[in-house]
């Protein structure tokens, strides 16, 4: 029994809030949370929060914008209702993945030629590949819009059928374009036997409306600017009045630095580790696999602490242009022949990455493929994709509601994170250290 605490639940994940309340032995706070007919969120906190320690549990799945605004309104309502402290508990942090399309991991623009053929004016003479104004264009130049497709084809087929794409006889030199063709085909050749080429859609961010994307053209000479919503979301929570934020397995640990208020990033790793130890037979013989280089650290941490072997899938993601279906090439580093593979990742959204990784692992001789994920968003047709995939089992936590997913996917198993959050809330409330929950190992 914990006193002087109010636990409020958003609309995103009532089951988790209920489970947390049960563990803590406190009733959930009463609130009305609905929508007016115009679509504005309506919120009324019915229990007094004056002088109380308020925790609001709201996950980031489903209609994310509604849930985020809902959370901000609840925080603000508690703050103006004289709550002593308001803690936002976000099992899945919304907007935690920054769009990764036109820029690579270190933030530098991917080397690619301007895809749009400049037509009238030039505003950026500093861009090397942009011809200066005054150069007349012949009609053949316009066909260059097909260049990207031709390029992607070359990287897929490993051939060098780039002749027709670049064959413009007007003397405009496109150094980047030539460079790019060479670079891409070399890498896909270098991946020798253990590579799979794919024409599948974006691996993590599946655009809902591909036709819109394909018609979108940046102004000639300008590289598009993709909004990075991460800092914004952190700022919005702070400006709504949150005093403390709790999250689980943030995609980027740097995200913590976006906040000026205390932020605790809990880890789902102990849960995953326990699952491996208890549910996978002869787990010492299995191989931990990271489906991409970004998750290598996460996966090696588990592999090291369990004394297991480790393999990595390297994903070559170099879009020739944003609209292209990404011609990602996957290659496996490490040996999985006749072994059980355990894919470790923090989040599966469209499930493209893990299903393709599973396919590759099977091809490389894996006997069984498990996927252990902290967050199973499973948007779009992710569930169908998993059902049809080479994955034998997918284990996720209930950081987002999994009821519907479980009904549709017999491969899915769900681990309960309510105890982690309940313990974190209890410790935060009592001012005890929560570092035991971190398990830095």
């Amino acid at each position: 029994m914990v006193r002087n605490i109010v636990i409020l639940s958003g609309n995103s994940h009532p089951e988790l809030s209920e489970a947390v309340c049960n563990i803590l032995g406190v009733p959930a706070g009463n609130r009305v949370l609905s929508k007016f007919s115009v679509g504005e969120t309506r919120c009324e906190i019915q229990d007094s929060v004056r002088g109380k320690d308020v925790f609001i549990i709201q996950s980031g799945g489903g209609s994310i914008n509604d849930h985020l605004i809902e959370l901000c309104i609840m925080i603000s309502a508690c703050k103006t209702g004289s709550a002593k402290r308001v803690t936002a508990v976000l099992p899945l942090f919304p907007y935690s993945r920054q769009p990764d399309l036109p820029y690579n991991k270190i933030g530098a623009p991917l080397s690619k030629p301007p895809t749009e053929v400049p037509k009238e004016k030039y505003t950026f003479e500093s861009v090397p590949a942009t011809p200066a104004p005054g150069i007349t264009k012949t009609p053949s130049f316009n066909k260059e819009t097909d260049l990207a497709r031709v390029l992607s084809k070359t990287s897929l087929t490993n051939g060098n059928g780039n002749g027709n794409g670049n064959g413009n006889g007007n003397g405009v030199h496109r150094p980047n374009g030539d460079y790019f063709v060479n670079g891409d085909t070399t890498t896909s050749r270098a991946s020798t036997g253990s590579s799979l080429t794919h024409t599948a859609s974006f691996t993590t961010h599946d655009y809902e409306n591909p036709s819109l994307v394909s018609t979108f053209q940046a102004k000639p000479g300008y590289k598009r600017w993709v909004a990075q919503a991460g800092t914004l979301v952190a700022d919005l929570l702070t400006c709504a009045g949150a005093d403390h934020v709790v999250a689980l397995d943030l995609h980027d640990p740097q995200y913590q630095g976006f906040f000026d208020i205390p932020m605790d990033n809990l880890y789902g790793r102990p849960l995953l580790k326990r699952y491996i130890q208890q549910n996978i037979p002869d787990y010492k013989e299995a191989v931990i696999v990271s489906p991409d280089a970004g998750g290598a650290k996460r996966a090696t941490a588990i592999a090291d602490s369990l004394g297991m072997e480790f393999a990595l899938i390297h994903k070559e993601r170099r879009p020739t242009r944003i609209t292209d279906r990404q011609n990602a090439t996957m290659m496996l580093v490490g040996n999985v022949m006749n072994r059980v593979c355990i894919l470790i990742d923090d989040l599966a959204d469209t499930a493209n990455t893990i299903t393709r990784a599973a396919k590759l692992l099977r091809k490389e001789g894996a006997t069984a493929v498990y996927a252990l994920l902290t967050h199973g968003v499973f948007s779009g047709d992710a569930i169908q994709r998993i059902n049809a995939s080479a994955l034998d089992k997918v284990i996720v936590t209930n950081s987002v509601p999994q009821h519907e997913h479980r009904k549709l996917c017999p491969k899915l198993e769900v681990l309960d994170v309510a105890p982690i959050f309940a313990e974190a809330i209890r410790r935060i409330h009592h001012g005890e250290s929560i570092s035991v929950l971190f398990h830095y190992d």
């Binding site: 679509g39 102004k219 914004l232």
Partner: protein, 322 residues
């Protein structure tokens, strides 16, 4: 274009592209290339396709009924994207301010959401706000940045003068809160005024109504700042009819018309409902033959032009650009 720094860049979200293109036409500029869409996990993604460095950025985003929160996040992300892309000044043009009705703590622990939205806009990086007919003009005080609250009144006055010339009409306020707005219009037109007092037991539900003033054998013009579910309007129209009005017309700035509004309007005693195009109407004009639309894009465009050039905007409070 590019060599002259600090021009107007008009960006628009997905909520009301039609109004944005009207404003852009009026200003004689192109809408800046942007793309905003939802990922399959429903997160909003915004891409800006041209430089806004050191430019005077105006982002027009209305609130389409149904996905208010999506539109709001889209606007916030766009503002933030422009700020991180080094825009000189960012002005949010929000013809219909969202959450404007949740502007006071009318009971314990009720959120003042309008204030929260104001804070969010400023947090995202907005330097200036242009809006129209705020539900309560005090909302301007929620901001620490300049807010220009434009009025649809000049456009409304013009519509009434042009369409009801020579008719005997009276301005009616459907509730006590709108009395000031209605009397202002009545005074400017030099016509009579009446008021309906209503009891409201719950939000979106309307109780008993009492009419104060004379409407017998006149055209009654109901004036309000917004029509949402239209329960109030329909009941007011019925009340005014009972008291002997010859015809009932409603003139409303923000035609949100959510929920069952179109049905209610079609069945109501109103002969016409006049709204401005601050809110996207979709196919509502087709579904409701009584609907008339006043275009306020000239006012918005002129406000943008004047703001950009550092001219006074107050002229627009009394005059509608032709």
């Amino acid at each position: 274009m590019g060599d002259m720094a600090n021009e107007i860049k008009l960006l628009t979200g997905n909520s009301h592209p039609k109004l944005a293109s009207l404003v852009a036409d009026r200003l004689g500029i192109q809408i800046a290339k942007t793309m905003s869409l939802n990922y399959s996990n429903q997160e909003t993604s915004v891409t800006i396709g041209e430089s806004v460095r050191d430019e005077d950025v105006f982002i027009l985003q209305s609130t389409a009924p149904g996905d208010i929160n999506d539109g709001l996040m889209e606007l916030l992300i766009m503002i933030h994207a422009c700020r991180t892309a080094s825009a000189r000044r960012i002005t949010a043009v929000i013809p219909n301010f969202p959450y404007a009705r949740q502007d006071k703590k009318d009971k314990s622990r009720a959120p003042i959401s309008a204030k929260l939205i104001a804070n969010m806009l400023q947090t995202a990086g907005c330097n200036h706000v242009i809006t129209m007919d705020l539900h309560a003009s005090q909302i301007q005080g929620f901001f620490n940045v300049p807010v220009d609250n434009l009025y649809a009144e000049p456009s409304v006055l013009r519509w009434i003068r042009e369409n009801l010339a020579g008719q005997e009409y009276v301005i009616v306020s459907p509730d006590a809160g709108g009395a000031k707005r209605a009397t202002s219009i009545a005074d400017r037109l030099d016509r009579g005024f009446a008021l309906i007092h209503k009891e409201r037991p719950r939000p979106n539900v309307v109780g008993r109504m009492v009419l104060v003033g004379d409407v017998v054998d006149k055209v009654a013009i109901l004036v309000d700042d917004m029509a949402d579910t239209c329960g109030t309007l329909a009941k007011a129209a019925a009340t005014v009819r009972e008291h002997g009005a010859r015809e009932v017309i409603a003139v409303v700035t923000h035609g949100i018309l959510s929920g069952d509004a179109i049905n209610i309007l079609n069945k109501s005693d109103l002969s016409q409902i006049v709204v401005t195009n601050t809110v996207p109407l979709g196919d509502k004009e087709r579904l409701c033959k009584k609907l008339r639309v006043i275009d306020v894009s000239p006012t918005i465009a002129e406000a943008i032009r004047r703001t950009h050039n550092g001219e006074s905007v107050s002229f627009l409070f009394n005059h509608a650009p032709a």
